[in-house]
Symmetry: C2
Subunit: 513 residues, 2 copies
Amino acid sequence: MNASSWVFPLRLPPPSLRDNTADADRLAAALRREIGAEVRLPLELLYDLPAVLRAADWRVRCALFREGDGWIATGVFPGEEGPSPLGAAVDLGTTRVALRLLELSSGRVLAEEGFDNPQAAIGPDILTRIHHAANPGGLEALAGGIRKALNDALCGLLAAHGREARELTHLAVAGNTAMTHLFLGLDPGRMIREPYLPVVNRPGLIAARDLGLTAAPAARVFVFPNIGSYFGGDLIAGVLFSGLHRRAEPAILVDVGTNAEVVLGCRDWMIGCAGAAGPALEGGMSRIGMTAAPGAIDRVRIDPATGALSFHTIGEVAPRGICGSGMIDLAACLFRAGWIDARGRFVPAACGDRLLGQEGDRLLLVPADRSGTGEDLTLGQAEIDSLIRSKAAMYTILETLCLSVGLDLEEIGTFFVAGSFGCFIDPRSAATIGMLPALPAERFLPLGNSSLEGASLVLARPEHLEEIPCLRDRITYLELNVNADFMNRFSAAKFLPHTDAARFSAPADGGPR
Amino acid sequence: MNASSWVFPLRLPPPSLRDNTADADRLAAALRREIGAEVRLPLELLYDLPAVLRAADWRVRCALFREGDGWIATGVFPGEEGPSPLGAAVDLGTTRVALRLLELSSGRVLAEEGFDNPQAAIGPDILTRIHHAANPGGLEALAGGIRKALNDALCGLLAAHGREARELTHLAVAGNTAMTHLFLGLDPGRMIREPYLPVVNRPGLIAARDLGLTAAPAARVFVFPNIGSYFGGDLIAGVLFSGLHRRAEPAILVDVGTNAEVVLGCRDWMIGCAGAAGPALEGGMSRIGMTAAPGAIDRVRIDPATGALSFHTIGEVAPRGICGSGMIDLAACLFRAGWIDARGRFVPAACGDRLLGQEGDRLLLVPADRSGTGEDLTLGQAEIDSLIRSKAAMYTILETLCLSVGLDLEEIGTFFVAGSFGCFIDPRSAATIGMLPALPAERFLPLGNSSLEGASLVLARPEHLEEIPCLRDRITYLELNVNADFMNRFSAAKFLPHTDAARFSAPADGGPR
C-alpha cells in the first residue's frame, strides 16, 4: 500500500456475542481493511487500548509507523477527529542539536528548538568523544547525556505547546554515524581504526522507551541509516530533502563540517564520498573559531583603497569570534588583498603592523577595545593552514567524485550546500580560495539544516520514509582510504586557489559575485 | 524458507577496507544468504555484537525466532560449534506452572520443573484473580507475582545446569486466556462480562526484558494465541501436540478444569467449544478437593461383597484429600454400588452409618485416625452436585459439538485427554457417570501436560511455530452463550449417567473396562 499519512481515522464494529474477537485483534482487522496490510500492535500499546476504544464508542485515530517491510501501531487515540498525534524530527549534531515538533496528520511544524550538545563538555570534537567512550562508563555517560538533553528539550517543547508526551508517537533522528552510535549507546571505537567499521548501518526503528525518551508508550524512533563511519544519516536526510535522488540531471550535495561529505548523482545513480576536513570550519577548535551564533563574524571586507578590515557579525553585535563561513570569507579577502600568499603565508609587507608576536605569525583582526570578549581577536598561521587543509579536502573530494564518473565539475548544474554553513557561505569566496568550483552563484543552493529538514519530511509523509532504504542503497560509496590518486590531488589543492589556478578563473556566464 | 532449526552456524567474511559494512549489516547479510530472508537485529543485540563477532574470528552461532511473517535474531554466540542456545517452554497453569529447559538446536530437554502459581495466594481461582485485578495495584501484583516466580524458577534451572541467562534466547508460554493476560499485565476484566472480550487474541512475540525475565538481552517470548476468553493458548498448544489438526479422521481433544474445553476435528476442519465446568475437578474449592499431589485419592473401589470402601493415593501415603480423577472414580463407584441415585442423592439405606450429620448429607470416606490430615475426610452432597454439573457440562459440550457437525460421539476414533487429569482418569468411571461417552478404553489417549508439550514443540522445531497461526484460525469457535439448545441438553445431562441412560450402555467391541 501507499499510505499518504501516518494517521488513520478508524470506525471499528462494536463487539457482540457473535463478534467477540479481542480488542487488539478488532483493531488489527480494521487496520487491515484500511491499509491492506498486517499491523503489529506492540504490548505497550495494549495496556490502555480497551479504555481508548470505548472512550469514543469504537472510533479512534491510529498512528502507524513503518517497521522493516511491515507496519507497527505507535498510538491510538479516542475519536476519529481530534488533535493530530505528534512527531519530533531531530538533527543530532556534534555541536548543536535541533528539533522540531510537528503534526503527523499534516506535517505542519508546531515548534522548533535547539540546544548545545551536552557531550561537548566531555569532548568538543567527535574523536575525543569516541576515545572517551572506551573509558569505563564513558559510553554510558555520552549516551545518557544526549538522551537526557533531548528528552528535556522534547518535554519543554511539548509543555510549551500544551501537548502531552503520550501524543508523541513518532520520532525521526538524523545524525552522523558517530553521533548516532553514541545516541544508541553503541561503541563507536572501531569507526576510527582501519577498516573503519560502525556497529550498525541500518538501525531502523527503535522503541522510544528503550532510549529513555518520554513519549507515547509505544512510540518508535526512526534512526536514519548511514553508509559508513564517515557518511552518516544526516547526509542521507540531506539527500532526501534536496531531492537530488529524483533529479534527471546530475547535481552535487556538499556538507562541510569536521568531515567534508559529498554526494554526486541523479535519479539514475549516486556516488558518495567523505573525508576528514579538519576542524577549521567547525568552530571551537581554533582560538577564535565559534559556531554561527550572535557575535560570530560571518562576513569580512577589506577596503581596496584604505586596506581597512571590516566585519559583519551575526546579530550585529561586537565580534566574539568567527564562524566557518566567516573564515572562508576572511581567507578569500586576505588572499585577494595579497595579505596571504598562495601557500597561505602572511605577507608582512601587506599586513604591516597588524602582524603580532615575535614570529609575526598572528594577524590582528579586532583589537580588544572593539571586540565582544575584551581581548584581541587574532588569526594565527596554524588556523590558516588548517583552513587550507579543509578546503583542499573538500575540493579534492569533489574532483575525485567527478573524475570517478567522467564528469567535469563545471558540468554540474546544481550545488546543494547543506548545513547552516550553506546559508552563510559566499560561493565567490569559496571559489576564491579554491574550495568550491568557480561556478555561477545561482548554481549554489543553500539547504539550511537539511538533516532536520530530511527528518521532518519522513514524519510528514510516509512515502519519504519509504524512499530511504532505496536512496541509501543506491549511493555507491567511494572509499578514499583505498584511492591512491587522492593524496596527490589533495597536495595539489593545498594552494590558494590551486596549483592549477586556471581552474578558478571567472566563468563566462556572469561569474561569481 | 523452511528452517529446520532455530540456530544457525555462520561464517562471516572478515571486514576489509573494500568491504567495510557495519558489523550488524555484515551479520544480516550472512543470515540473508543462509535463510533467504531479512532478519531483524534488535538494538539490544548490538551492544555485544562487535565483541562476539571477533571472539571466534567471525564465526558465530545465531539464534533466530519468528516475528510475525519475518525473523528476529535473539542471540549471537562465538564459534560455529558450542553449547546450544537454550529455550524455555512454560505451561502457565492457574494452579501450577510447569517449565522445561531445552536445547534449541536439538529440542533435547535438559530439565523440567514446576511450582505453584503464586497468584493462588491472591485468589485460588481465575474469577477471584480477575476481580482482584480491578483493584488499585491488583493487576500489577498479579503480573509481578507470576513473572517473579517464573524468573526465579528459570534462574534456578539454569544455575542447576551450569548455564547462564544470556544463553536463554527463546521462550514459549502457553496458558489459558486469563492467565496469559495476567502474565502480560493486561486487564482481563472484560473477559467475564458479556460479550466476553479479551484484550488480545494473538500476543505474538514479546521481548523477555519487557516481562522482567532474566534471559539473553534480545530474548523473545512467544505467547500462544487464544481463540477467546474461554479458549486459551494452552488448548492451542494441546492441539499442536496432539496432532489432531493433521489427522485424516475426526478426533476429539478434551481438557477439563474449571472450564471444559473441547476441540473436535481433523486436518480439514476443526470446531472448538468451552464452557464453565465449575470447580469440582480442580481441587481446592470443595472441602476435600486437592490437586493431584501426594496424599490425593486417585482411585476408589467398593468391594461388591462387603461394601468396604478402599482408596489408592498418589505416593501411597495416608489420604489427605481427593483429586479430580479420584472424584470421578468415587462418584462412579458410589453410583454403581447404589450409594447415590441417578440424581446424585445419597441413598441412606445403602450408605448406612457412613452418613453423618443431622441432615445425613455427608458421607464419611476416611475416618480421622486413618487420614493424613488427622480429621475425617467426608464427601458432601454439595460436592456431588458440583461434580454432576461439571460432568454434565463436559458431556453437553461434546454432544453439542458433534451435533453441530452431524457426527455421532460413537464415531469418534480418538479421544485425546489433556492435562494431568488425562493421565489418571479412568474412562470407564467417566462413562459410568456420563461424563465421557462409553467408548472402548483404547480410544482414549492421555496427553499429559499437553500445554507444556506444545510449547516445547515450538522451541524444538520452527515448523511447529509456523503451524500455529493457521491451526488457530482454522478452529471455528462455537459460542455456547448464543446456543439456545445447550441449556436443554445440559439439564438432560445432569443425571447419572443421563436421562437417556441407553447412551451409556456398554459398547459391543469390548466395552469400557
